[in-house]
Amino acid sequence: MNKQLMYGTHAVAEAAIQAGCRYFFGYPITPQNELPEYMSMRMPQVEGGVFLQAESEVAAINMVLGAAAAGARVMTSSSSPGISLKQEGISYMAGQELPAVIVNIVRGGPGLGHISFSQGDYFQSTRGGGHGDYRTIVLAPDSVQEMADMTYEAFDLADKYRNPVIVLGDGILGQIMEPVVMPKPRKKLPDKSDYIVNGRIGRPSRVIKSFFVANKDLEDHNWKLFRKFQMIEKNEVRFETENLEDAKMVVIAYGTGARIAKGAIKRLKKEDENIRIGLIRPTTLWPFPSKIIKDTSRSISDFFVFELSTGQMIDDVKLALEGSGHVHFYGRPGSVVPAPSELARVMARQYYQLQKAKRK
């Protein structure tokens, strides 16, 4: 058994290295400092590994842009305010169709907020906080093991679609230690020789760009990207479900929120074995698992959204449902983790009220 007890940040970093990432450009910010710190220790131990502390998050994302254009598997990590600063660069990379993995260990906002954690960056991540029509794939782990696995996969997704991929953790997932089985080193990396810049020997010169002189060309490019995003929506939706079969109410939560929700459901089941609460946990936030939610609404009409924010994913749930269900919401924005027992209370109140109403 190859289980190690690892910090979430370290698991992300090590999984990236196993996935063939050899370039890391980052900048300190709590609660993800242990990620660049780990990289600064590990990269020099790996053949060809480069760790560089950038002078800012803006510089970091642009170093990532350059490294991606030169063909590298490359990563950067930060936390909320730092990710805001990277928005222009991410928009460029999406426009230039460059792959990279961007880790956001979300903290409390807005502004300086709080260093612990939150889920307040959902909109920014899923709708492109930068300018223009673009999307980034957003993966939402809820354990250290998933932090590792999803980071590992993120590199493949980024290369497959030539698009930035965001791993959306939070201060808790970053700071805890849990047992992890590390993915095996990726032996064969994708061949990118058809688009990267490495000198124009034996071929015409290449340009990596997002600028279009003719108005029409930009429009064509935007539709091209749009079709790619549709393809991603078709192929890459991921989620986990629990007890949907006979549920009378379905909880929708992701990341740390989903863990607490799972604990709350378990608790309620212990107290009342007849309680029927299911769970849908999106593990990709974009593309969002709309279909399973819509499908579920055929038999179940109550959806309980739990977020560690004042409510952002709830929009995607409503968009998925298209009016075909009732959406209830419980939010705890900013740095206070509700105990499963607290959430259980809120959920139970909602649940029993609904059942009572139905009986009437």
Binding site: K3, L5, T30, P31, H114, I115, S116, I172, Q175, I176, M177, E178, P179, T256, R259, I260, K262, G263, A264, K266, V337, A339, P340, S341, E342
Partner: protein, 165 residues
């Protein structure tokens, strides 16, 4: 404190338990005492933040005061009695002091105080078996500390047996 928590978490992991270790971090601000939360369970662990811990191990007075109040009713608090003189102890919990510093200096190594407490902890908590802990100790300590294996083993046993007496 933190290393002791990690040791518990590692040992539990090696016994195949679900385990989560969560260090405290206050604000982006200096100072304050360090603490950590270890959750050990046979099932998947929901929240890594224990709002009502079952066991508390306190190394100093402020922690003793703060975390005693969080303990679940019927919980257990183990404390470093070399540094802590409990003024008052909740009546619905059990408390036990271990003079780890004195014991450590008897063993000739002040640094093993934590291991003594660890030994005492596994005794009272019954979460991990002593045999497994000792078996896994080399892995838990890591390669760098092979030389200290012996004295750590002794310290753990010493803590374990202290409560036997």
């Amino acid at each position: 404190m933190l290393s002791m928590g990690q040791a518990i978490a590692k040992a539990a992991m090696m016994e195949g338990k679900h385990v989560t270790y969560m260090p405290s971090y206050g604000t982006e601000v200096r100072g304050g005492t360090a603490n950590c939360t270890v959750t050990v369970s046979d099932e998947e662990i929901a929240s890594p933040i224990a709002s009502e811990p079952e066991f508390v191990v306190a190394l100093n007075q402020p922690s003793f005061v703060r975390f005693q109040s969080l303990l679940v009713s019927g919980g257990f608090i183990l404390y470093n009695s070399s540094l802590i003189q409990p003024d008052s102890i909740r009546s619905d919990i059990e408390a036990m002091g271990v003079p780890v510093m004195e014991m450590a200096s008897k063993l000739g190594n002040a640094k093993v105080a934590n291991m003594i407490l660890l030994g005492a902890f596994i005794k009272v908590s019954n979460l991990i078996s002593l045999d497994n802990l000792l078996k896994n100790l080399p892995d838990i300590l890591g390669a760098g500390k092979a030389k200290l294996l012996k004295v750590n083993e002794e310290a753990i046993k010493c803590g374990y047996n202290y409560l036997k007496e």
